[in-house]
Amino acid sequence: MNFEKEIRKLARSNYWQTIYNANKENVNLQLFDNKSNLSGPQLVFLQWVQTYYSLYTDLAQKESQLLTEAVIEDDERANAYLAYRRKKLELEFFKYQKEKQQEELKRKHHFKHEGKVSLIDVNVGE
């Protein structure tokens, strides 16, 4: 049995996606027989349920033309899309950081060369 394949199949199933969604809405449905001491497959399963939830959300919101129902149902194609999405998010984050740094530099440059500071003596109470 290919454990990961089976776990992913379960995680993207309508049943578990509904349970997960209900728990997000604070319905508090018990997921497993055990309440603590989660096993590795249970943790991996939870990660995949969350991942597939985000993929179905992307699909519903038409986030990318590259994502289709068929992509989600195919493990390798879903992996490829997840790698693409991660790379895209990283690039967006770096772009944002760079823009922020440039704005900071501009602000410092503005104060250094154009800003003038005046000192005024104010006597209070006279």
Binding site: L10, N37, G40, L43, L66, A70, E76
Partner: protein, 209 residues
């Protein structure tokens, strides 16, 4: 065809496609020679005991003349047999990059480009096979190292504690330990139960440590 028959068929199909028992609880069941066994997740106390056993075993190995640390073993392999384990580990990391390159191609394929999708998947299959072979090779070379030996000891201890067999009793499902003590586990002959027990336990503990 009766409703019961349809339900039976649906259940059978579900069993073919979905395995809820994988996540239903923190145990995994398996059969050997028609008998049912299971491995369960160790509790915190058992994990602590296993760590203590592992540390004691590691100290014993360190004192022994015939044992070797991973660092020294790597050096020895390089000098005596020209096997560079560090280089093999670098090759292993390089596979991640190779896989990402194939993903770059695959992500752009449309649903109707079945041939392209299959070709990329075949390429991924080859990469994964080569990667697994490399893992096996590294594992084969590093097995004598103290660190690997003590990790195996740790898993052996937990296997002895967490593997249980199903005992038939009237109107009752009873689970009993396969090996009463760790010594009992160590001295008994290698068996499929040992093999499957450790395999499934390793799987149960994935992403935990």
């Amino acid at each position: 065809m009766s409703i019961a028959h349809v339900k039976e068929m649906v259940d059978e199909m579900q069993n073919d496609f979905l395995h809820p028992e994988l996540i239903q609880d923190n145990k995994l069941h398996f059969t050997v020679d028609g008998k049912i066994y299971r491995v369960r997740m160790p509790n915190q106390l058992e994990l602590l005991e296993a760590e203590q056993k592992k540390n004691a075993y590691q100290v014993m190995l360190l004192k022994s003349e015939n044992s070797i640390t991973l660092k020294k073993l790597k050096k020895l392999l390089k000098e005596s047999q020209d096997i560079d384990v560090d280089e093999l580990e670098k090759d292993l990391k390089a596979y991640e990059e190779k896989v990402l390159k194939v993903y770059d191609k695959l992500v752009k394929r449309h649903d109707d480009d079945k041939e392209g999708i299959e070709s990329d998947k075949a390429e991924l299959g080859v990469l994964k096979k080569e990667r697994n072979e490399l893992i096996d090779e590294i594992s084969k070379h590093t097995t004598p190292a103290i660190e690997v030996q003590s990790e195996n000891y740790f898993m052996s201890y937990l296997t002895s504690v967490c593997t249980e067999k199903n005992v038939e009793k009237e109107n009752e499902i009873v689970w009993e330990k396969v090996w009463n003590t760790f010594d009992n586990y160590l001295t008994c002959e290698d068996s499929s139960v040992k093999y499957y027990g450790m395999g499934y336990l390793t799987h149960l503990m994935m992403s935990i440590r």
